[in-house]
Structure formats: C-alpha cells, structure tokens
Symmetry: C2
Amino acid sequence: MTKRIEREPAVPANPGESVTLIDVARVAGVAPMTVSRALHRPELVRSDTQKKVLDAVRATGYVPNMLAGGLASNRSKLVAILLPTIANSIFADTVQSLMDGLTSSGYQTLLGLTAYSTAREEALVEAILGRRPDGIVLAGTRHSDATVDRLSKAKIPVVEIWDLTDTPIDMVIGFSHEQVGTEVARHLFDKGYRKFGIVSVDDPRGLRRCESIKSELARLGVAEPAFEVLPAPATLQAGREGLGRILAASTPDIIVCSSDTLAQGVLAEAASRRLSVPHELAVMGFGDLSTAAHVYPALSTVRIDGITIGAKAAEALLARFAAVPRSEVVRTQVKIDTGFTIIDRQST
Amino acid sequence: MTKRIEREPAVPANPGESVTLIDVARVAGVAPMTVSRALHRPELVRSDTQKKVLDAVRATGYVPNMLAGGLASNRSKLVAILLPTIANSIFADTVQSLMDGLTSSGYQTLLGLTAYSTAREEALVEAILGRRPDGIVLAGTRHSDATVDRLSKAKIPVVEIWDLTDTPIDMVIGFSHEQVGTEVARHLFDKGYRKFGIVSVDDPRGLRRCESIKSELARLGVAEPAFEVLPAPATLQAGREGLGRILAASTPDIIVCSSDTLAQGVLAEAASRRLSVPHELAVMGFGDLSTAAHVYPALSTVRIDGITIGAKAAEALLARFAAVPRSEVVRTQVKIDTGFTIIDRQST
DNA sequence: CTGTTAGCGCATTCAG
DNA sequence: CTGAATGCGCTAACAG
C-alpha cells in the first residue's frame, strides 16, 4: 500500500506547533534577524545568504506571523474600508481599484459594513482601530462626533470618499452631491422638462442629491416635484413601486432617480404600462455603473468615475505610508474633486 | 459643524504614545491582568472593580491592541473571506449575512479578491494566513494544490461555499452546479424547447453549469446548442453582445444564461430587436438576485439562497470557534447542500 | 476574585 | 553585511 510520499518539512521544528522565524534561522544556519531581513529587505543581505534563507523557508513551510510583525514594528500593513453595504453596490468599482492598488503594495484589507448607520459606523471604527490599521477609508463625510474624534486621534491617514466636505478628517476624494443635484435640475430644466417626479431610497447621499434638485427647481420656479422615498437598498422592484406611487397622484414628464438600479426599475414599470420612454416619460438615473452602461438607450444618468476614486485613494494612502517620519502625523488636507458627468441619452 | 471643546483624556498616559492596558490599570488602580479580564471576561471580576476599569478605559480613551492580544492568545478574532470579485456580485447577499453573523460575535473580516484566478488565490491565501485568522471562507471548491495544502495544514476551520465537492478541505456549504445544469436542461426540455442557445461569462462555475446543460441535452437527443462565452464580469452589455452573436448564426427558441445580469442584457437585446419574450424567444437566468426578483415577468431563473449559505457558514465557523480544545483540530466534514429552485416565469 | 510571572513572534537598535 | 539584546502589548497559567 504505497501512500504517496509527502514531502514533509525537512526539519519539523516544534512538532505540531507553528513554524517561526527561529525555526527557519536554525535550518538556514543564520540568525533570526537575518531571516527577517532576507524576507523584507533582501537588498541588505548577501545573495548566497538570501538563497539559504529562502530554501529554509520553503523547507519549513514558514508563514510569517504578521500579528507579531505588526506589534513589533508598529505597522500592520492593514487598511480598513468602511462601506454602507456591498449589495448591488455602486462602490464595487471603487473597492476593486482601491484593493488592487493596495494589494500590489502588500497591504491587506479589513472590510466593515455600516448599513448607513452612523452608530454602527462608530462601533466598527472603534473595533477596527484595535487592529491598528495603517490607514482607513470611509464612504461619506458625515460621521458621529465620536467617530470623528477617534479617527482624528488615531495617528493614521484617513480617506473619506464618494463625497466632499470643507472639513475633512484628513483626506477627501469624491464629488459634491449638492452640485450633482443642482446641475441635474438645471440640465433637465434647460431641456424643457417642467413636471418632475423623484424616486429615491433613503440613502443619505442620495437624499441630499434629491434635496438639492428640489431646491434648484424651486429657484427656477418649477412646481414642487412628486417625491417618493423607499427603504434602502435600491432594487428594481423599489423602482417599479416608486413610479407606481408617483403615477397614482401625478403625471410627470421626467422621473429622476437616486440610482441607476432604481431607474431601471422605473423603466421596467414604464414598459409594463406601455409608456414610451423618453417620449411620454423621460428617466434619469445616477451612477452609470459599468454593468448598465449603454444598455438602455433611453436612460440618461450621471456618470461617476468610481475607479478613479479608488485609485486615487490607494495612491494617497500609499504616499502617506511612504512618508518617512511616521511619528510626525501629517494631515495634508488632500481634497480631490473627481467630478461627474451628466450623460444625456435622450433626444427629446 | 462647530468645533466643540474636546474632552481630553483625564490622564494623558504616555504623551504622544498610544494608551496601553498598563495605563488603564494605573488609572483604575488595579493590575493590568484585571483590566484585561474586565474587558473580556467581566463575569470573573467584581462589579465595582469592573466599574473602576470601565471608567478608566473611558478616561484614557483606551483602544485594545488586537495585534498584541492575538499574538498572546493565539486567537485573532479575524475571519478571512476570499471571493472572485465584488462587482455586481452574486455573492453580495452571502457576504452580508456571513458578516452579520460574524460581526455580532466580535469577529472581523479580512477580504481578498481572487479575480477567478487560482494563482491569485494561492498568493492571497498565503498572505492572509500570515494574519493568523481564526477561520477562512472561500468561494468555490477548485483550488491549486498548494492552496489546498496550506489550508489543510493551517489549523483553522475552512469553509468552501457556493459549490459542493466530495473532498472538501474541511467544511462545504453550497449546491451542485452540475445538478443545476442537469435540472435546467430537463426542465426546459420538458417544457418543449428544442433549439437552445447558451450565453455565459468565463466564470468557472458558470461554465460548469453550462457544460452540464450541454451534456444533459445531448443525452436527451437535442441538437448541440449555440454557445457563446464572454469575458467576465457579467454585464448587461455582455448579455446583449452574446445574444447578438447567437442570433447571427441560429434561431433558438430558448436562451440560457449563466447569470441574471447576462439574462437581463439578453432581454434588453431581445427588446431592441422587437422579439417578444417568451413567445418568440424564452430566456432563463441564474441567481435570482433580490434586486432583480419579480421584475422581468418573462425571466425564468434558478434561485440560490445566498443568505442561507452565508448564515450557515457563519454558524459553522462560530460552532468551531466555540469548540473547547482548539489544539485538537477537527475536520468535521460538514457538508451542506443548500439546494436551488428553478423559478418558471414563462407561461408558454 | 485578583495579582505575578513569563513569553507569544517579530523588528528596532545597536554592536561587531 | 550579520548578530545579540530588548521590548512591542497583551494574555495563559498559575499563585495567592
């Protein structure tokens, strides 16, 4: 009965226990410190020593313990990301590009989901700071006082994304939701629409865009829009429901939605009611997710470049990490407006 | 927000440095170990001592260092999750419920994105094991030998989800993609369809479902389906493109898609070609995401209960964590088939 | 119920 | 270029 011969580690070290730097050092015939250097700063080690160490690493199956490393060096190589949710997330592109940037520099990602609750965010921030992350990325700029306080005192870079503020905790990369609302309103007004309906979920940033639309419309002398708010998360079904409610009470010529998903639901409902879009009813979304782009010729929207937001956030963090005197806490007040683009796909 | 007067910690501890357990102990007038206990095992501490400690924690602004705690206790309270991607992810529900379950027990989540690459998965597993997570969840059951080896030797629970296998690394919770394919094929055959088209992205599990459909159709004596594979990730645009290609060469009466997103793209393309669904062309998807559910009356699909998968995975992990002798590594061979449901929304 | 001792595995800091 | 001593902050194990 020949069992396949398993290549067991040449030197089993502490039987049953995990392999440590010391075990590797013993096998390689060098000091532990040399193993550490060979692994993290190979340029400081002669190449034959380097080779001995790498061989020993392979032979022992050593996996560095980053808890110990982080504790000793005070650098965890961990970045925390706090998002409201990942369900059909408008943040997917951003997270992907952010993680790509961080991963390729050896950083790992701790994920926290806040469900749009500042209380939950506060608890998560506290818990996560216990991991001593080297940096933290938050969606949004509205936080509880306690969160702001904790984050300000934590001596790590903080990036707030997908929004803008004049008083960032540290760095902020995003765009103005108020400006989105204002420009959407003006754009549609200029195109001649006068009877507005608005469908939103109760995401705080989405609501701010909606409020901004309403203010601008009021300023332009347009009648108060029909406004329906549905519970998050945005689903196609919520969009259908929203349009249904609006049509029960009014006959708008344009429906503005707080997200593309909602807008797609509105389109589905319009189709089932045999309303021709955009002729009888025009629809505007928000997000221009890559999954939806260019599919519904009648769907105008606001394009947000989530990839750039993620990439710039990664870049900003990495720049800070590289800055030499980590003790010297810098709050650079980086503020990047990534802007947005109104995409008009309606030929009214 | 007006700048409020910040309540500085009553006892600034080591000026500039971070507050440690020792600082808290000093302020509370107890031993460090008592602080640790008050925080983690309050039932072992007299309630007045407990109160002194909590006051001191608040006064100092202490945040426990979990790197140190993890190192000392050999329990990191970290669970790693490896997914292919989070873009319009079919895994969103699963991740959400998994994280809900873990978070409420004080576990935090390390996220890794593999992009459907086993090589990348291998690198991530190695890096992540360096954090000494208490458990790890992987999407899928197909991994490189090195990954399986590392994971088997790591003395932590491993849960493979969204698939099934007879040789799990440890625990597996999901359903059989082959079975999905077989049953979809039979279902559609029974409904009378004979001219099949299949649109998929090159996600390995999606492809396995498609292959299984093809085998079953062959077995049933149906003509070879038109088969179009597009690069991941699944987008509406990819669905449109896929249907376009298929119609260029054949005239199927049913299109089976590897995901709902793709199916929605197919529906969009069908609509733009004025094909009536399901009369002229029926469409079947996969996933039945909550965002899409019940919106396209003509879209049949396969419903997967991602929430249950996530919840059971969390439950399985927590059960293992609670098992007393952590040294005693158990590989329970938990194997849960969460099944799936074919949803027929076509009245052909 | 509380305190003491010891050390988790590694990197910093110096010395050679 | 390599090595030895020291401690990061915390908790296990035991003693009181």
